[in-house]
């Protein structure tokens, strides 16, 4: 089309340092913005712990006398639950409607005037938010769980770095999914439909309600290789409880990275389409 859009092309080459500086500044402001809600963080940590107890007892009852369920032993199930409750707020499966709200109210127009691509700036802010959440929301369940349950502690030196990488990737994958769901607001009057669909699917298919290992093998495998959902939640937790051998885990994290790249590309594509459409509408 060759039309001029409101966004400036991403800077390249010698501007790499300034790009990183901008990205870092947005991320830091995202961190600070969420760090102001201290009461909410305490309330959230308490709630995560209550659900940690609930899920942990239920999964341990599923493991029952045999002591294993879906390929997890009791200690692995406990770690899966408690780390999962901690990750919930870090990855932020639910409750992000900022982009959709800005599109609806028209405030998005001011985002387009900024010299940073919207996908980049929202991602940076989200990483900052996740940084605060990993201090305020991930740590409490990780401390509470081991007090009351026997947990699985990583035994291989590769596990922790791989886990950190996997969580970082999961945050990016989840951000991209949320961005795409929110971006339907460019076309739809009412984004509640896509939002509800996302909320329902992400909870059950990402492994929050139960580890996907509880499902029949064919279903687990097709979810794992055919959808991004396990990359949100299941993969980092499987890495942490060392469910697979290290090479397989590296492969799974690689798959996660693949989803992250693919979905971020989709975000940029959707955003470009939406901007063209807005220019055509003149609105």
């Amino acid at each position: 089309m060759g039309s001029v859009t409101a966004t400036v092309a991403p800077t390249t080459g010698s501007h790499v340092t300034s790009w990183f500086r901008t990205f870092g500044a947005i991320a830091a402001s995202g961190f600070r913005r969420h760090a102001t809600y201290r009461q909410a963080a305490v309330a959230g940590a308490v709630t995560n712990s209550v659900f940690g107890f609930l899920h942990c007892y239920v999964f341990l009852a599923v493991a029952g006398a045999a002591g294993t369920a879906g390929g997890y032993d009791r200690a692995q199930l406990a770690t899966f639950v408690w780390a999962g409750q901690g990750l919930l707020a870090v990855i932020l499966l639910w409750g992000w409607t900022e982009l959709a709200d800005r599109i609806r109210t028209g405030e998005i127009a001011s985002d387009l005037l900024r010299p940073v691509h919207p996908v980049t700036s929202y991602l940076a802010a989200d990483l900052g938010r996740a940084g605060w959440a990993s201090v305020a929301r991930l740590v409490p369940p990780l401390l509470v769980g081991p007090l009351f349950f026997e947990v699985h502690l990583p035994r291989r030196w590769t596990t922790l770095p791989l886990f950190v990488l996997s969580v970082l990737t999961a945050i990016v994958v989840c951000f991209a999914c949320r961005f795409l769901v929110n971006a339907t607001a460019y076309w739809l009057q009412d984004v509640r439909g896509p939002m509800i669909l996302w909320t329902l699917c992400s909870g059950v298919l990402a492994g929050l309600y139960f580890p996907l290992g509880f499902l029949p093998d064919w279903l687990e495998l097709s979810l794992r290789y055919g959808t991004p959902f396990p990359s949100l939640f299941q993969t980092p937790l499987d890495v942490l409880v060392e469910r697979q051998a290290t090479p397989v885990q590296v492969g799974l994290v690689g798959l996660q990275v693949g989803w992250a790249v693919l979905l971020l590309a989709a975000c940029r594509l959707v955003q470009r389409r939406a901007e063209r459409r807005m220019v055509v509408q003149g609105g």
Binding site: V50, A61, V62, L200, V204, F214
Partner: protein
């Protein structure tokens, strides 16, 4: 007021249908979760799938119906924060009914109806030996569950009079209570079970009534008549919630925003 609500909410037809479907979805996945768990194990806490489904049905119906009727009280923290609650207080009507009717979420009807279906299918397939007493319990217990969950919604919402940013804290008890009552309480252990089951009273929503319906002895050793205590527990909960609400309103100071 109710008629106007119904008309206004149904006028955006597509949104309304989407909401109806979305609200059922949550409960559907709760049931799917139970089925998946029973796909891995034959019994959970000493109960079979059919027995556990009776508890799921009681819990799902009671929670969804209470959520439909008074669940909107969850918005209280936002009303307090934005100052809208002041407008409610200056009107010459009781505050609680106003809050509940201001935005009765008709979309949640679908979920309560689905809860009822789960309950009826569960008691139908559990092989219950029906007596007049058990039939009466089948009516009384779900109603008591609705009152109980309603009281929990109101009581937890009053926290926001003291602690404005407390939204998620209420979820720990309301949604936590729903999850707790979806499984036999034999699943849980130690002080956690004691706190939720008897400290907060959630054992009387589904576990004990289900035992009485099924005619099973309590593995934890309480006598069979405890299943009939549900209405009494619900009334106590309602009285406590009403008291908490009154104290909360009196304590309320506007945020001034």
């Amino acid at each position: 007021m109710l008629g106007a609500q119904a008309r206004s909410q149904a006028s955006y037809r597509v949104s309304f249908v989407v909401d109806l479907i979305g609200n059922v979805g949550g409960t559907v996945f709760d049931v799917v979760t139970i089925l998946v768990l029973f796909g891995v194990t034959r019994e959970l806490g000493g109960f079979t799938l059919r027995e556990a489904l009776v508890m799921v049905g009681l819990s799902a119906f009671a929670f969804a119906t209470a959520d439909l009727l008074v669940g909107n009280i969850e918005r209280l923290p936002r009303y307090v924060r934005t100052g809208l609650f002041d407008a409610v207080l200056v009107r010459p009507l009781a505050a609680l009914p106003q809050l509940l009717l201001m935005d009765l979420p008709l979309r949640k009807v679908s979920r309560a109806a689905f809860g009822l279906v789960v309950l009826l299918v569960a008691v139908g397939s559990a092989g219950i030996h029906w007596t007049p007493g058990r039939l009466a319990l089948l009516v009384v217990a779900p109603a008591a569950g609705v009152v109980f969950f309603g009281s929990v919604f109101v009581a937890t919402a009053t926290v926001s009079f003291y602690w404005v940013d407390s939204g998620e804290l209420a979820n720990a008890v309301t949604y936590g209570g729903r999850d707790f009552t979806s499984y036999p309480i034999t699943v849980y252990g130690g002080w956690f079970r004691a706190l939720f089951a008897y400290g907060l009273g959630f054992a009387f929503v589904s576990y004990h009534p289900a035992l009485a319906l099924l005619g099973r002895a309590d593995p934890l050793g309480l006598p069979a008549w405890v299943g009939w205590a549900a209405p009494g527990v619900a009334l106590v909960a309602a009285a406590l919630a009403a008291a908490a609400w009154r104290v909360g309103i009196r304590h309320y100071r506007s945020t001034g925003s």
